[in-house]
């Protein structure tokens, strides 16, 4: 409510200012004279034919003051006092591809300058006084209703009071109090606490995306001192694998990919630097507000340290990673589409808002107007994302500081200087001896070189060639995708989203309904990206912290408190536990935006440590487990599945960081040949495998990996037969099963029963039960009868391999309880 008032009063103030401005520009006699001598004749000569009394193309008429101000189809032609915001000026300057007037002949410089002066003088006109009395003023009704403004997500999170609960023994933390309060109201008792084996498996997968080793399980089981689980959580948070797992979650949101996708699948050969930046940021627990600022405006943050500077430049890759229609023949459309993708991604990723909806019309549900959209679009129009729009368009890359490159450059420059010196010396010597030859007083020929001896000329040629070679191949600095500032400018509203029908020009800014007046200030010469970043990363923003804590909750529990993690608008789902969400958001911000401490807070709660045991009574009352009476089971994600089978077979290469693809930057990953040469055979963690849009690796596509073109904080879990086919029949799984059997044999176990047990421990983090051992041995024997034609040992190995495969594709293996 408070906000509604402030917005209405803002508009009121704006109207007053507008009228004030009109009053302030009382037509001076000089101005009228200027209009009559310079401007009216110019308009009459060049404009009236199409925009006068006879014809009004585009519904625009320029022979009457009121019509000039009201403008035509595209909006107001002149904003008195603001040449930059006046379509008339845009048109005559010929700076916009689609709006150039007069159409055939550009006005000369003086004429354009006169028009600009006239507008900046306040567009003095003899009829101006009359029109003002009639009330020519900007009159913008609120396009959305109170409901939109009162929507819960647009109110600042407050620290809620803890509700009362009966069972005071159960809660470990305020999180539990909020949850228990709701469970008790529904008459549901939380499930019992989970056993330690299951807990360490759950925590380890959750935090690092890998299973615990047999030793880690044993250590946890035998640690009887208080705080044993806390120590496990801290160990996992300190692991470098933590950043690989949680950085990957963020990469989903950032629609990270190593190729462009869409129409022309050009290689993002340097995108990996952004991926590594994200992993690194999670590992060092970079405060989330800083993480946000760096990705939106890292290039604008001051830093003395060149490595910090590098990191911040790389961070802006976030804005450049989107899929682009690189062969779009309509270049203006391409640019606006790229800007749209940036705005939409920012909205979904940080604010949980579908800002892109306002490109063509005011948002149907959320308080975002087209005006807001183009105020944001102006920020990105003033941001340099692309170096070229010509087919195939090229995105910008930052040059990064690099010691090795600096050395190479210095060496190269020295070599060049030395060569040049040699050349100069050679010429000087040869010229001197030529002079000597001709006599001191004789004039040298116009081209003395032609008179040098043959041998000298050969030397010169060789020397020049050497210099040319060096010049041609200078050392190249490492580069990274990213953005920088462009010349600042405002955009016109694109009516129905089309760059061919332009409306009123709107100043760069932030969504009016979501911003308090004081926080917007975009300098005339700045894009406004920094202001946008500051606003998003501020605790004043009611969305940012909520959206983030909800993401983290989703990635731990399988479902967000707000189920639509990327949409907190009116069409998103309402929070199941609004107070808990606010408590988490509030604590998160007051605790320095630390994500690692947020994990601890969540994981040390009783709620996180619930078992997943079924209870018919509770299920009756809350079948979807929305109140969280038990732990949700979850399937391993595509990366976890692959990484885990590599890990338990001893093949996982844990090398961190580095390039993902070997393809030259900007070249197509595949063209008409439809052959994809991308290599996926590396045994490194999946986060380092290439992410090729339009042709993701099979094991990714099949297991609900993110699309990599759209921001996605909520991967789905589909269960389809093609997954089963892959698990049953792919060479990869067959090889994994073989390796697991090999490893089992290499451990030196005494009996077949021990082997079965070792496999259960390794794959499922628990010992095999007696019945399971018997069943396994029976399977192996039965197999003996089925298989034929092979030697005994080989046959046995194959039997074990099939058993291993069954184990790693079983529900118990692929689900975390």
């Amino acid at each position: 409510m408070r906000r509604v008032v402030s917005i209405c009063s803002l508009l009121a103030i704006a109207s007053i200012l507008w009228i004030d401005q009109c009053v302030a520009i009382e037509p001076e006699q000089d101005g009228i004279v200027f209009f009559e001598t310079k401007i009216r004749p110019l308009l009459a000569q060049h404009c009236y034919e199409c925009h006068g009394a006879g014809e009004q193309e585009g519904e625009l008429r320029l022979d009457r003051y009121g019509d000039v101000i009201r403008g035509g189809k595209s909006g107001s032609a002149v904003v008195p006092g603001k040449a930059d915001a006046s379509l008339l000026i845009t048109a005559v300057k010929y700076t916009d591809n689609d709006l150039q007037m007069p159409p055939d002949d550009k006005l000369d410089k003086t004429q354009i300058a006169d028009l600009i002066s006239w507008v900046n003088m306040g567009a003095p006109h003899p009829d101006a006084g009359e029109e003002r009395k009639m009330g020519v003023q900007s009159n913008r009704p609120m396009p959305f209703d109170q409901v939109a403004l009162e929507h819960w997500a647009f109110q600042p999170p407050r620290e809620p009071a803890l509700p009362a609960v009966q069972n005071s023994a159960w809660p470990h933390s305020p999180i539990d109090v909020f949850l228990l309060h709701r469970l008790e109201s529904a008459g549901i008792r939380p499930a019992k606490a989970v056993d330690r084996r299951t807990l360490i498996r759950r925590a380890t997968f959750d935090l690092i995306g890998l299973p615990p080793t047999i030793e880690e399980v044993d250590a946890f089981l035998s640690d009887q001192a208080p705080g044993a689980f806390e120590r496990v959580v801290d160990r996992l948070l300190a692991s470098p694998h933590y950043g690989e797992r949680w950085g990957r979650h963020w990469l989903d949101v950032a629609r990270y990919a190593d190729s462009n996708g869409l129409d022309e699948n050009a290689a993002h050969a340097n995108a990996w630097r952004y991926r590594d930046y994200v992993i690194h940021s999670f590992n060092e627990d970079k405060p989330y507000d800083e993480f946000v600022r760096e990705q939106l405006a890292g290039d604008l943050l001051a830093s003395e340290d060149p490595h910090v500077r590098n990191e911040r430049l790389v961070a802006t890759g976030f804005l450049s990673l989107g899929p682009k229609v690189l062969a779009e023949p309509d270049k203006t459309k391409m640019e606006m589409d790229i800007i749209d993708e940036q705005i939409d991604t920012i909205g979904k990723a940080f604010l949980g808002l579908a800002l892109g909806c306002a490109r063509c019309h005011d948002h149907k549900f959320d308080p975002i107007t087209t005006r807001d959209y183009y105020a944001l679009a102006g920020i990105f129009k003033s941001t340099h994302t692309m170096d070229s729009f010509e087919t195939i368009a090229r995105w910008h890359e930052h040059e990064l500081f690099d010691e090795k490159f600096e050395q190479e450059k210095a060496t190269h420059e020295a070599q060049l200087a030395a060569r040049q010196g040699e050349l100069d010396e050679l010429i000087a010597e040869a010229t001197a001896s030529l002079q000597e030859q001709l006599g001191a007083s004789a004039a040298l020929p116009a081209k003395p070189e032609e008179s040098f001896p043959e041998e000298t000329r050969e030397k010169l040629k060789a020397s020049r060639e050497a210099i040319a070679r060096l010049t041609k191949e200078p050392p190249r600095a490492p580069t990274a995708m990213g953005v920088q500032e462009n010349a600042a400018c405002d955009l016109a509203i694109h009516i129905r989203g089309s760059h061919l029908t332009l409306g009123e020009i709107v100043p760069r800014g932030l969504p009016a309904a979501l911003v308090s007046a004081a926080s917007v200030s975009i300098p005339a010469d700045a894009s406004g990206r920094l202001a946008l970043a500051e606003w998003i990363a501020s605790q004043e923003n009611s969305l940012t912290a909520r959206v983030l804590v909800n993401r983290v909750w989703r990635w731990h529990f399988g479902r967000g408190l707000v189920e639509t993690t990327d949409n907190f608008g009116l069409k998103g789902t309402l929070p199941s536990h609004p107070e808990l969400l606010d408590w988490l958001a509030h604590t998160f911000v007051s605790d320095g935006w630390s994500i690692k401490r947020l994990h601890r807070r969540i994981m040390l709660s009783a709620a996180y440590q619930l078992s997943s045991d079924y209870d018919a009574e509770s299920a009756e009352l809350d079948p979807r487990n929305e109140l969280l009476w038990r732990s949700n089971i979850r399937r391993l994600e595509a990366e976890e599945l692959r990484d885990t089978v590599l890990a338990i077979t001893g093949q996982l290469d844990t090398t961190m960081a580095g390039p993902a693809i070997e393809i030259e930057n900007y070249t197509l990953v595949f063209n008409h040949t439809s052959m994809d040469e991308t290599k996926y055979d590396s045994p490194r963690r999946s986060v380092y495998l290439p992410v090729i849009r339009n042709h993701l690796h099979d094991s990714f596509t099949l297991f609900d990996y993110t699309d990599a073109s759209l921001p996605n904080g909520n991967r789905s879990t589909s269960t389809v037969a093609s997954q089963a086919l892959y698990l049953m029949n792919s060479d990869f799984l067959a090889a994994i099963a073989g390796k697991l059997a090999d490893r089992m044999f290499s451990v030196g176990l005494a009996s077949e029963a021990d082997r079965v047990d070792w496999l259960y421990q390794t794959a499922l983090c628990r010992p095999a039960k007696e019945g399971e051992i018997i069943r396994a041995l029976e399977f192996l024997e039965r197999f003996d009868r089925v298989a034929d034609g092979e030697g005994q040992a080989a046959q046995r190995h194959t039997a074990w391999q099939l058993f291993c495969q069954a184990l790693v594709i079983s529900n118990e293996f692929v689900y975390v309880r």
Partner: protein, 479 residues
């Protein structure tokens, strides 16, 4: 906050049915989901057998689609829309403005190198590029006023396949699968044979935000012979089938034990059953692709006895076999490494080779479908991503032209021997009976019994459609 909770609860109640239906689709659709009968799904996929046909919005005219995609952009004025004025004004400048946005500059008008003949009772004119298809004109409904938005291959492919050349959206095959599900529980609902990986690649058969079960299953790729067009992982190279059966029995037992401890759980149950479905697909898919069961005469009908037409003939024959077996949407792509319908130069040589490769197989497909009674409820769609310019690029080529081109349909409820719309007298712009790509999609869905405005999916806060905010049924072409 109290009121927020109350609102939440009310909204939950209101959305309950919707959510459970969508969750069902998203999370436990085993094989191949369907909109209208999500509750039937598990049963349908694993029940006692029998065909699953879901009730569409209204009576369907077609039950499945075969989409013959001509990658690169076949020229309409050289194939199915004769332009006598081009002959007359060959070499002269185009007497009106060229479009604001063009892919490449073009010069003056260029006449067609081919003669047109009238075929069938309808007397439809078809150029000498398509003598076999010419014989089928009375079953074909030509749309001459089709227009798109994008003059580049990538954008135009995405527009045609997904309805958007700007955003990542589900493909039309996915929408159809989403809307109608499959008629055969043991086969995918959407199969694309030899698709191209360029210009949108997977996006052209992807499901984007629709349930993964609706995505197309690719068989092979465009640059490899169609003999290699098989479904990945459908064959096991490492275990004998009876051995695999015992392995699956063991797996099934282990899974049942695990599931038991978790209580009733759709997703876990679905996973248990997915292995059985996969096991059945292992035999059904190779059977569907086994062309040895086809007679020599049938193969000859598709041109499989001729090296020139053998490759595309196989694709068309496979399409018929999948159609017979209840696959809902089958796409066949004509494109390979060297030859696409993209003649920026050497129009004559290029189009002649392309047409030769597809003409007989397409006619064979139409005849075969008809003789088996399949053409009545199978909609065959023939389209490129755009047409070509009547003006010359270089001396003997034509540029991309999304502003007006020909697409045709046959069977499944369309008027045979009918010509709808036209381009201008030279063939540059759609002029009469204009059909935007969105309109084409709306009409295609209509023929399948689906209302394009009601076939929606909620994603990121709003309901999406194949036709975005456009699309109008073209009623004139309905039989």
């Amino acid at each position: 906050m109290v009121s927020a909770f109350a609102m939440w609860r009310n909204k939950k109640l209101a959305d309950q049915a919707l959510i459970s239906r969508r969750r069902m689709l998203r999370e436990s659709a085993l094989g191949f989901g369907s909109l209208a009968a999500a509750s039937m799904l598990v049963e349908a996929s694993f029940g006692s057998g029998g065909q699953v046909l879901v009730s569409p919005h209204f009576a369907p005219r077609a039950r499945r689609v075969i989409f013959l995609f001509m990658k690169g952009g076949p020229s309409h004025m050289d194939t199915f829309e004769p332009k006598p004025m081009l002959d007359r004004d060959d070499g002269k400048p185009l007497p009106f403005d060229k479009p604001r946005v063009q892919f490449a500059p073009t010069g003056n008008l260029l006449r067609s190198p081919w003669k047109f003949r009238n075929y069938g009772e309808s007397g439809s004119a078809v150029s000498d590029l398509f003598p076999h298809v010419g014989q089928c004109v009375d079953d074909i409904c030509f749309l001459h006023g089709v227009h798109g938005t994008n003059a580049a291959h990538g954008g135009a492919l995405l527009k045609l396949h997904t309805g958007s050349d700007t955003f990542v959206r589900p493909s039309m095959g996915s929408w159809v699968s989403y809307g109608l599900g499959t008629e055969n529980k043991n086969l995918p609902s959407f199969i694309t044979i030899c698709p191209t990986l360029a210009h949108g690649g997977v996006k052209n058969w992807g499901s984007a935000f629709l349930p993964a079960s609706t995505q197309g299953t690719p068989l092979g790729v465009a640059s490899r012979p169609s003999t290699e067009a098989t479904m990945k992982y459908v064959q096991n190279n490492n275990a004998l089938s009876d051995v695999q059966r015992s392995q699956l029995d063991l797996l099934s037992e282990m899974n049942r034990e695990f599931n038991g401890a978790m209580g009733p759980h759709d997703e876990l149950e679905a996973r248990l059953k997915s292995f059985e479905l996969a096991y059945r697909m292992q035999s059904e898919m190779p059977e569907a692709q086994d062309l040895t069961r086809e007679t020599t005469a049938t193969k000859a009908l598709y041109g499989m006895n001729d090296a020139k037409t053998e490759d595309f003939g196989r694709q068309c024959l496979l399409a018929r076999r999948f159609a017979e077996r209840g696959v809902r949407f089958i796409q066949v792509t004509h494109s390979n490494t060297d030859v696409q319908w993209d003649q920026h130069s050497k129009l004559k040589e290029g189009h002649e080779q392309n047409a030769l490769e597809v003409d007989k197989p397409i006619a064979g497909l139409l005849r075969d479908l008809k003789s088996r009674g399949l053409l009545d409820d199978t909609l065959v769609l023939w389209a490129g991503e755009f047409g070509r310019t009547p003006t010359a690029q270089g001396t003997d080529g034509r540029d991309h032209n999304p502003y007006g081109f020909t697409v045709w349909m046959a069977g499944g409820g369309v008027r045979g021997g009918y010509h709808h719309g036209s381009t201008d007298e030279y063939g540059f712009y759609a002029k009469t009976g204009k059909v935007h790509v969105h309109d084409l999609h709306a009409t295609l869905l209509h023929l399948l019994g689906l209302d394009h405005e009601r076939l929606t999916y909620r994603y990121s806060g709003r309901d999406f459609r194949l036709t975005d905010v456009g699309g109008q049924l073209v009623p004139e072409i309905l039989a």
